[in-house]
C-alpha cells in the first residue's frame, strides 16, 4: 500500500518535472515566430534551448517508462485510449526535434522557413494537447471495466479539456517568455519581458476559471474536502503565480522563471492530488478507474524500480543542473558559431 502510494507520487512528480523543464522549450517554440523578428533573434532563441531541450524531453520518456514499469495497466489503457492525441504529440515532437538540428544545415531562406513552421507547430501542439489530455484525466475518461475506450479524439475536446489545454499553453508561454528574458539581451529581451507581462494576467484569469470549473466538471475537490491540508497545494500555486509577477516587476528574471516553474509543478500536483488514488479515472463508473492499487506492478518490480529511481534520478538532476549551470548567462551573437 505504502509502496503504491509512493509510486503514485513519483509518477506525478516525473510528469511535473517534464512540464517544468520541457515546458519552457514549448513556450519558446510557440513564441518563436512572434518574437523572432530577425535571423539573429531566431538563432538566439534556438540556441537558448539548444544544449538543454533534448535532456528535458527525456523526462517525458522517463514519465512514460515509469508509467509502464510501475502501473502497466495505466500505461496500456491510457495510451491506447488517448491514441490519436498521443500520436499527434509524438509527431509534433519529432518535427520540433529535427527542426532544431536541420534548420541551420542549408543556407536558404525557403529551407529555414519550413523548419521555422515546424518549430512552432512542434511546440504549440504538444503544449495544448498535453493540457487537453491531463484535463480529461482529471475529469475522467470513458473507459469500461475492460479498459476499452468509448470515445474518439473529439470526445477529449470538451470544454474542461480545452480549458486545461489553454491553461497549459499559457503556463508554458509565461515560462518560455521568462526563459528568454533571462537568456537574451537587447530588443529581443525587451519583447520577451513585455510578453511575460502581457501573458501573466491572462494566465491568472484562466487559472482562476480552471480552479472554479474543476468544482463543476470534476470530482477533484472530494479529496481536498476529505483532507483539507491538500489546499496548501492550491495556496502554493497561487503564491507561486503571484510571485512570478512580483519578481518580473523587480526585473529578477531568474526568480520569476523559478516561480513560474513552481506554478507548473503545483498545477500538476493540484490535479494529481485530486484524482488520487486513481491515475486514470473512468467517467463511466468509478469502479472501472485504474488506481495505484488495482493497476500497479508486483511489489518486487515496484521495489527494484524504486531503488533504480532513488539512485539515478538524483544523479540525473545533478548532471542536468551542472549542464544548466555550464550554459547559464545570455546567449549573444558571438555564441552563434559553434
Amino acid at each position: 500500500m505504502v509502496l503504491e502510494t509512493v509510486w503514485f507520487l513519483l509518477w506525478g512528480l516525473l510528469w511535473a518535472i517534464f512540464f517544468m523543464t520541457d515546458g519552457f522549450d514549448f513556450g519558446v517554440g510557440t513564441l518563436y515566430p512572434f518574437l523572432g523578428r530577425t535571423e539573429t533573434d531566431k538563432r538566439v532563441m534556438i540556441n537558448s534551448l539548444g544544449p538543454l531541450w533534448d535532456g528535458n524531453e527525456v523526462w517525458l520518456i522517463t514519465a512514460g517508462g515509469v508509467t509502464f514499469a510501475a502501473f502497466p495497466l495505466v500505461y496500456a489503457v491510457m495510451f491506447s485510449s488517448l491514441y490519436s492525441a498521443l500520436m499527434l504529440i509524438l509527431f509534433a515532437l519529432i518535427l520540433r526535434g529535427v527542426s532544431f538540428e536541420f534548420r541551420g544545415k542549408v543556407d536558404s531562406p525557403g529551407w529555414r522557413k519550413i523548419w521555422d513552421i515546424c518549430i512552432f507547430v512542434g511546440s504549440i501542439v504538444p503544449a495544448v494537447l498535453f493540457g487537453v489530455a491531463f484535463g480529461n484525466i482529471f475529469k475522467g475518461v470513458p473507459i469500461d471495466g475492460e479498459g476499452v475506450y468509448h470515445g474518439t479524439l473529439f470526445t477529449l475536446l470538451n470544454t474542461y479539456g480545452l480549458l486545461t489545454g489553454v491553461l497549459f499553453l499559457l503556463l508554458f508561454l509565461e515560462h518560455g517568455a521568462l526563459w528568454l528574458s533571462i537568456k537574451t539581451e537587447g530588443d529581443l529581451h525587451d519583447r520577451a519581458v513585455s510578453t511575460a507581462n502581457r501573458v501573466w494576467p491572462v494566465l491568472l484569469v484562466i487559472a482562476v476559471i480552471f480552479l472554479v470549473m474543476s468544482k463543476f466538471s470534476t470530482s477533484l475537490y472530494d479529496n481536498y474536502l476529505a483532507h483539507p491540508a491538500l489546499f496548501l497545494i492550491i495556496l502554493a500555486m497561487v503564491l507561486a503565480l503571484l510571485s512570478t509577477k512580483i519578481f518580473l516587476r523587480k526585473k529578477a528574471y531568474f526568480k520569476a522563471w523559478f516561480s513560474s516553474a513552481l506554478t507548473i509543478v503545483a498545477a500538476t500536483f493540484y490535479g494529481v492530488a485530486g484524482i488520487y488514488p486513481s491515475l486514470f479515472p473512468s467517467s463511466i463508473n468509478p469502479n472501472y478507474s485504474l488506481t495505484a492499487h488495482n493497476a500497479s506492478s508486483s511489489p518486487l518490480t515496484l521495489k527494484i524500480m524504486l531503488v533504480v529511481v532513488l539512485i539515478f534520478v538524483p544523479i540525473v538532476i545533478a548532471y542536468q543542473a551542472w549542464s544548466y549551470n555550464l550554459f547559464k548567462g545570455k546567449v549573444t551573437e558571438k555564441d552563434l558559431t559553434y
Binding site: N47, G50, P51, L52, W53, D54, G55, E57, V58, L60, I61, T62, G64, G65, V66, F68, A69, A70, F71, P72, L73, Y75, A76, V77, M78, F79, S80, Y83, S84, L86, M87, L90, F91, L93, I94, G97, V98, E101, F102, K105, V106, E146, G147, V148, Y149, S297, S298, L300, T301, I304, M305, V308, V309, F312, V316, Y319, S323, L326, F327, Y338
Partner: protein, 434 residues
Amino acid sequence: MDVVMLSRLQFAAATMFHFLFVPLTLGLSIIVAIMETKYVRTGDETYLSMTKFWGKLFLINFTLGIVTGITLEFQFGTNWSRYSAFMGDIFGSLLAIEATAAFFLESTMIGVWVFGWKKLSKKAHATVMWLVAGASSMSAIWIITANAWMQHPVGYTIRGGRAELTDFAAVVFQKFAVLQFLHTVGSAYILSAFFVMGVSAYHLLKKQHIDLFTRSFKIALVFGLIFSLFVVIEGDMHGVHVTETQPAKLAAMESHWETTRRAPIHLFAIPDEENEKNLIEIGSIPGILSFLGYHDFNAEVKGLRDFPKDERPPVLITSFAFKGMVGLGIYFVIMTIIGVFKRNRLVKSPFYLKIMLISIPLPYLAIELGWVLAEVGRQPWIVYGLMKTKDAVSPIATCQVATTLVSFVLVYGLLGAVGFYLMAKNAKNGPAMD
C-alpha cells in the same frame, strides 16, 4: 486488413526506420571519441578536423535516432496495450531503467558536447563524447534485454492473469540477452566502420584531404575488422542458443521441413508454405544446418512439419533474411581483410575504394535483415511460447491505426529523404577548412 496486421506494419515501419540511425550512433560515437582523444593527446589539428567532420554527420544521424525512438516507447501502449498490461511488470521496468540510467546521460551530454566547445577544457570535452558513447551502449543493453525477454522469457511467474517478475538477475543476465546484445552492438560497429570507410573512400577517390581520410579509414578499418570477425564467431554461438530456445526459428531459417539427421543448408531455396516443401533448392550442403544448430554434423534437426501449423513463423521471409544476413556478414570479413593489405596504398587502389563507397548501404541491409529474422522468426509469438501477437493488440479502431500508419510512412519518408540529403551533402562537402 485488421488492427493486428496494421499495428504490426506500423511497428515494423517505426522500428526499422529507427534502426537505420541507432547503429551509427552506437559506433560513430566511439570513433569520434577516439579521434577527439587523439587530438587531446597529440595536439594534432587534423584530428580536430576529423572530430568536427565526423561529429557533424554523427549529429544529423543522432537527431533522427532520438526523435524516432520516442514514438517507439509509446507504441507498446498505443498499439499493443494487451501486451503491455500482460508483460509490463517485467518489460516496462527494463524500458524505464533504460531512460533513467542511460538515455538521460546520452541526451544531456550530447547537448553539452555540441554547445560546449568553448565552455569546457579539451580533455573534459573529449570525456563528454565518451560519456555519450558509453551511455548509448548502456541504453542498448536495456533495450536488447527487453527484446531478449520477448525472445526467451525467464525469471517470471504467471499470477493474476499477467507475467510477474520473480528473478530480476535472471532477466538481465540471461544468455539470450548477452548474446543478442553482443551481436547487435558488434553489427552496429561494423556498420559504423563501413560508413566511415565508405565516406573516406569517396574523398580518397577524389584525392582530397588525403591525410585526414586515410587516418579516418585506418581507424575504421581496425574497428571493422575486429568486429566483422567477432560477429561471425559470436553469431555462431547465438545460432546455437536460438536452436535451443526457438527451434521453429532455426527450421524456418533454412526452410527445413522434415526432421532429419545431417540436415542441409541450401545456398538458395524457395519455400512453398502451402505444400510444406521447397519449390527450388540449389546448392544443398548436407550436415551444415545440424552443425550450425548443434555444432555436430550428424545432429537431428526438427523440421517445420513437426511444429503445429499455427506455431510456424513465415518461412519465406525468415529464410531470406537469414541467408542475406549471413552472406553479407561474410562479405564484411572479406572486405576488411582486403583492406588490411591495401591500408598503406589506399589512394592507389581506386577499385577497392569504389567497392567500399558503394558498400555503405550493405551493413544497413544486414542489420535490418537481422532484425527481420529475430522478429518475424519469432512469430506467431510476441513473447515466445507465452503470448501470441494476435492477442497482444490494443482494442482500438482500425481506421485510427490506418491513419497513423499512413502518417508514419509519410512523415518518416520525408524525414528519411531529408536526413539522407543532409548526410550526403555534408559527407561530400568534406571537412571545413579554417
